[in-house]
């Protein structure tokens, strides 16, 4: 049981998830559904970045692959939407594995920048084959409608789907990071040479971690398509990939429950918190809340302030300084690094 994470914490989370739709409005419930799917995506990226130490700037594209898998299956082949969710994950996971194989050869920043190519290539391919993907015009999915059998709001139905998936994926993530494979991932993160010396196949671990993270993001992408009911290339911009990485850092890379914060931030900052803060400022100091770019400025400043307040994310704050994984621990003053070695 312990391998599945803290049972009490998990229980509290489940209770909160059940309670939320009774407390919040339908629209907030709709937004909280997105928090659930972002949680799944962030868990995946965290397995790669937080636990294996590989930074990716391209995982928005794996969400896109999951989303397009769902869309094409539902729209062109009439498959029922919820059955496409695991398929979206599998397709993204396989493509992630395929990308993971060459990616293992890149170290650190080279990998990060190489992964930058994934969303760019993804968007290019979407536009190149419009007969298959719908091109720029994209594809509309069926609208959300409750399949719970009684007169439930569609947003609540979507919320239930997202959180059922999220509450399956969260323990799954725990199983992955706590098991033998999890130890291998962490040893690769902390020192590839030491890991290799201990008989860990670093290339294999990195490739598999890439595949797993892509699988999680694909599942999240399927949910995304179902919730947005529309996909086109603009829906999966590079910003999305970066936003996911922001979510990881703010949640606290290397923590799974921390991803809850990351997911909240990712969903709410641009659509809700940013405009709300601007409104607040406009009351104190007369500014135009609709000035072009003002929303971005607020988003950026909030991001920066959160980074200053919690350089290791929400999980870092909760855990204190000591328990942080080595690669995220505050570096010593640069001068304290051994000046002798060249």
């Amino acid at each position: 049981m312990k391998r599945l994470g803290n049972p009490i914490a998990f229980g509290v989370l489940v209770l909160a998830v059940i309670a939320a739709p009774f407390i919040f409005s339908n629209y907030r419930t709709y937004q909280l559904a997105f928090v659930g799917l972002y949680l799944v995506a962030l868990l995946g990226l965290d397995i790669l970045t937080g636990f294996t130490g590989q930074i990716s700037l391209g995982h928005g594209a794996f969400m896109g692959i999951g989303a397009y898998t769902t869309t094409i299956l539902v729209v062109d082949h009439g498959v029922r939407d919820i059955w496409t969710i695991p398929l979206g994950g599998v397709v993204a996971g396989i493509i992630g594995l395929a990308f993971g194989i060459p990616a293992t050869r890149f170290a650190g920043p080279y990998l990060a920048l190489a992964t930058f190519a994934i969303p760019l290539a993804f968007i290019g391919i979407l536009k190149r084959y419009p007969d298959f993907t719908g091109g720029n015009v994209g594809k509309n999915l069926p609208q959300l409608h409750s399949q719970l059998g009684w007169h439930t709001n569609p947003s609540i139905w979507f919320y239930v789907v997202c959180w059922v998936v999220a509450l399956v994926m969260l323990p799954l993530a725990f199983v992955i990071v706590r098991g033998r494979f999890g130890r291998a991932m962490r040893s690769v993160r902390d020192s590839e040479i030491a890991a290799a010396a201990n008989g860990v196949s670093t290339a294999g671990v990195k490739t598999l971690a890439f595949g797993i993270s892509a699988f999680f993001c694909g599942v999240a992408g399927s949910l995304y398509a179902i919730g947005i009911t529309y996909v086109n290339p603009d829906t999966f911009p590079i910003d999305l990939s970066i936003l996911l990485l922001v979510g990881i850092v703010l949640g606290g890379a290397g923590s799974l429950y921390g991803m809850l914060f990351g997911a909240l931030f990712v969903e709410f900052i641009r659509i809700s918190w940013g405009p709300a803060l601007l409104n607040l400022f406009s009351r104190v100091h007369h500014i135009d809340t609709h000035a072009p770019g003002s929303g971005l400025v607020v988003y950026g400043v909030v991001l920066l302030l959160v980074l200053y307040a919690a350089p290791a994310g929400a999980a870092g704050l909760a855990r204190g300084l000591a328990g942080r994984p080595a690669f995220l621990r505050r570096k010593e003053d640069p001068s304290l690094s051994d000046p002798g070695l060249v």
Partner: protein, 232 residues
């Protein structure tokens, strides 16, 4: 008149690990002082607590001036040249560029004097420093340190990885600089015999504390020191 360098009750830590527990020592002008001890005894940390490359508390005084909060660059500007373990050569720069870095804080670096002590550097000036042999690198590090016109030279394990013959040559130059230029030296060494041959005084560190202190002769005759560090 205050001592050139005075450490009193200095504590230093790396993160949670305390490496020095209240070390006190002095170096007088024109003196060579050896710092001996086993691996992990805190020798290197003692030098670092002077140059400011480790978080430390307690008093570090240079010519009576407090250095306890000074950053490495400030300590260097106060006249302390620290040749770290492994020499800290800029391997990708040329020999001459390394020397220019040594004279970084001096308005007009006196290259002529330095080349007088290390004449071979002249012909190697455009060679990449990383391609020098270990002994040559150690010499380059010494020359570079001397170019900053230091009041105190701190050497960390200058003999590390060097053949005995080369080690002797290094210490010959250090002694020469000490005698001709009046340069005070604080040297950390595993090789206690070589160090005590050059030094006037010495300290022995054990697990972050000064265990024994005295003149070189006293230390050489101390039984415990002899069995532990001199090996006879």
């Amino acid at each position: 008149m205050p001592a050139l360098l005075e450490l009193s009750d200095v504590t230093a830590r790396y993160g949670q690990v305390v490496a020095l527990h209240g070390v006190s020592l002095t170096v007088e002008d024109g003196e060579i002082v050896a710092l001996l001890g086993a691996n992990g005894a805190g020798k290197t940390t003692t030098l670092r607590s002077v140059s400011g490359t480790v978080r430390r508390s307690g008093d570090v005084l240079l010519g009576g001036k407090r250095l306890a909060r000074a950053t490495p660059e400030v300590v260097a500007r106060h006249g302390v040249a620290h040749v770290p373990e492994g020499r800290g050569i800029f391997a990708e720069l040329t020999v001459w560029e390394n020397l220019r870095m040594g004279g970084y804080i001096v308005r007009r670096p006196d290259f002529a004097t330095v080349l007088g002590y290390f004449p071979w550097l002249q012909e190697r000036r455009n060679q990449q420093a990383g391609t020098l042999s270990g002994g040559e690198q150690q010499m380059l590090a010494l020359a570079r340190a001397f170019l900053s016109r230091p009041r105190l030279l701190m050497l960390d394990e200058p003999s590390l990885g060097l053949a005995p013959l080369i080690t002797r040559e290094v210490f010959r130059v250090v002694t020469e600089l000490n005698q001709k230029e009046g340069l005070a030296v604080l040297v950390v060494e595993q090789n206690a015999a070589v160090a005590l041959a050059a030094a006037q005084r010495g300290y022995v560190l054990e697990t972050g504390r000064i265990a024994v202190a005295g003149s070189a002769a006293e230390l050489k005759s101390n039984d415990a020191v002899r069995t532990a560090y001199l090996g006879y």
